[in-house]
């Protein structure tokens, strides 16, 4: 059973940190509340959190033949985006700044071949307001009319001609696309989320830099009070930024490249924590992807920013992250491979089985999971 949380916990009479927490540890599986997180961590453990803020990335549009369409804006396409002609090979080069507030989503400069004055974005077209399914009959050159005189033109499929749902589009918004989305957009939601919820419901307590098309939801149950409890317990907290793209990909589709930044002080804390034999616990798959993208061969992390197309899995196990806080998401996705790359298939399988048995709530407003694989043995 995988019951979906169709409403945020605050709408169900719970505090954010009142959602359930399944802690899968070397000592077994424990059922708790998220506010109990400090119980499962030790002084000196490092929690790595994502400071990316969610943007209102869904906008209504009209196709050329008058049919309504919902446009999901995933990320700007810039020089350095993997798959972009100008990118070359180096997705991990010192890339365009990820954290320049406002600049990261400004989209003022045309990249990727759009006309001057237009911004080039990765977008997905969805069929209606509840985003029940992708549009499958769009063609290059098609123009979608957006509110307030804005429009976009589909240039080509991404990452290549055989891709089915993500498009490179030239967007003419009469100004910065980030500002257009902030005013005309609404949060991306899927059919399991019954009602539309306002953007603040999609922000974590750590959200500082706008840029995620969908909420980095693992951080959602944290509250200022819980952070204080963690700090008082000696748990160290350090930031990274990874702007999450649209997550509607189907089984078998690799995750989209994403913009990330691991600040040098965070890298140093990660290395210090590992050297001290403490855990590096990533809050979410976004933080895992960012940290592992900044790791060298030996597992040492350096400050890094740019785009990452890293896909963790059996062929690329985690080298840095030794614990994970995550929500409950469909286990068919590449999501599961990433969890297993950190915690090993046995622990992940046991956790999912127990969560389904115990009726944990699924999706971004649902319950949470802490995966703490046995130290030094976590990939068995």
């Amino acid at each position: 059973m995988r019951p979906a949380a169709s409403r945020p916990p605050e709408e169900r009479g719970l505090a954010r940190d009142g959602v359930r927490l399944l802690a899968a540890t070397p000592d077994g599986i424990v059922h708790a509340r998220f506010g109990d997180l400090p119980r499962f961590l030790s002084a000196g453990d490092l929690l790595v959190v994502n400071t990316s803020a969610t943007v209102a990335a869904a906008v209504d549009g009209l196709r050329g033949d008058g049919r309504p369409v919902l446009v999901h804006f995933s990320s700007p396409l810039e020089e350095g985006t993997p798959g972009e002609a100008a990118a070359g090979a180096g997705s991990l080069e010192e890339g365009p700044p990820c954290e320049a507030a406002g600049g990261s989503m400004a989209g003022g400069a045309a990249a990727g071949g759009g006309p001057p004055g237009e911004a080039v974005w990765l977008v997905e077209l969805r069929e209606d307001a509840a985003a029940t399914g992708p549009v499958t009959d769009a063609v290059p050159g098609e123009t979608v009319t957006l509110p307030a005189g804005a429009s976009l033109t589909l240039l080509r499929r991404y990452p290549g001609p055989t891709a089915t749902r993500i498009w490179v589009a030239a967007v003419a918004a009469g100004g910065a696309v980030s500002a257009f989305l902030a005013w005309h957009g609404r949060p991306i939601r899927y059919s399991y989320a019954g009602d539309p919820w306002p953007l603040p419901a999609y922000q974590t307590v750590f959200a500082r830099t706008p840029g995620s098309a969908e909420m980095p939801s693992a951080g959602r149950p944290f509250t200022a009070g819980l952070v204080t409890d963690l700090v008082a317990a000696g748990v160290v907290i350090a930031p990274v930024t990874l702007h999450a793209g649209v997550a509607s990909l189907e089984a078998g589709e690799p995750p989209l490249p994403e913009r990330f930044s691991v600040p040098e002080p965070t890298a140093q804390l990660v290395n210090l924590t590992r050297a001290a034999g403490r855990r590096v616990v990533a809050v979410g798959t976004t933080c895992t992807r960012a940290l592992e993208s900044a790791a060298g061969q030996g597992g040492a992390v350096r400050g890094r920013r740019g785009w990452t197309d890293l896909v963790l899995g059996a062929g690329h196990p985690a080298r840095v992250v030794t614990g994970l806080v995550t929500g409950w998401h469909d286990p068919e996705a590449s999501h599961l491979a990433l969890l297993e790359a950190v915690a090993g298939p046995a622990l992940v399988h046991a956790a999912y089985q127990e969560a389904e048995r115990a009726g944990y709530l699924w999706h971004e407003f649902g319950d949470s999971c802490l995966l703490l694989p046995p130290a030094g043995d976590h990939r068995l």
Binding site: A56, A148, G175, A179, A182, W183, P198, L199, P200
Partner: protein
């Protein structure tokens, strides 16, 4: 430093608010119908762009938007420019409807027009909108039916915008009675010297912009700083 656009900045609360923010390092765009009055009111202030004109004129509003575009960002919009209507104010049974239309144009339609025009940059900055209201919006004072009902409409626009666009802060700000030219128009020939100066209201407005409480309608007394810490 943050940027603000303040309408009706040549007199009264608009002038006092503009001077207070400019003196705190804010970058301002201001308007008023009379260019000379506006220039005089802003004399001595750094980083103030004066765009004279009438907020009910779409061409003038477009010039304000161009000024915002040149500034590159907008953190705060203060819809302060207001129209009282005829002086003395007629009772509703006799209120000239063309005058009523002008009162609504300035106090309701123009603020919403500026919000529509500047919503994108305001939203990008997670900005705040202050719509200057009046106690006449909530109290039934005889003779205040035109101005008061327009401000009540502005209050409701503010409340609905807060529900529709919750990522911004939306304030209807009720400054109460002040010793201003407009207040004198409302009470022609009367001595209003007992009313507080508009400068006395500015600390409440600064608190609203500094602390960014939840969207809503705020009177000056709601924002009073306690004389002694509790």
């Amino acid at each position: 430093m943050p940027n603000a656009l303040i309408t009706g900045a040549s007199r009264g609360l608009g002038r006092a608010a503009a001077r207070a923010l400019a003196e705190r390092g804010w970058s301002l765009i201001v308007d008023a119908r009379r260019a000379a009055d506006l220039t005089g009111a802003m004399r001595g202030l750094a980083d103030v762009t004066a765009v004279p004109g009438d907020v009910t004129d779409p061409g003038h509003r477009a010039r304000l938007a161009e000024a915002v575009g040149r500034a590159g960002r907008l953190d705060v919009l203060v819809n302060n420019a207001s129209r009282l209507g005829p002086s003395p104010q007629p009772a509703l049974r006799d209120y000239p409807l063309d005058e009523l239309g002008r009162v609504y144009d300035t106090n309701v339609v123009a603020p919403l027009a500026l919000i529509q025009l500047l919503g994108a940059p305001l939203a990008a900055a997670a900005g705040a909108i202050v719509n200057v209201s009046s106690d006449a919006a909530t109290e039934a004072y005889p003779g205040w039916g035109g101005y008061g009902s327009a401000k009540a409409a502005l209050d409701q626009l503010t409340a609905v915008l807060a529900a529709e666009q919750p990522s911004l802060r939306w304030y209807a700000f009720d400054p109460g009675d002040m010793r201003t030219d407009m207040h004198q128009q409302a009470f022609p020939g009367e001595d209003i010297s007992g009313r507080p100066e508009p400068e006395t209201v500015v600390p409440a407005l600064l608190r609203l912009l500094g602390e960014r409480p939840p969207s809503g309608r705020y009177r000056v007394s709601d924002l009073a700083v306690p004389a002694v810490a509790p």
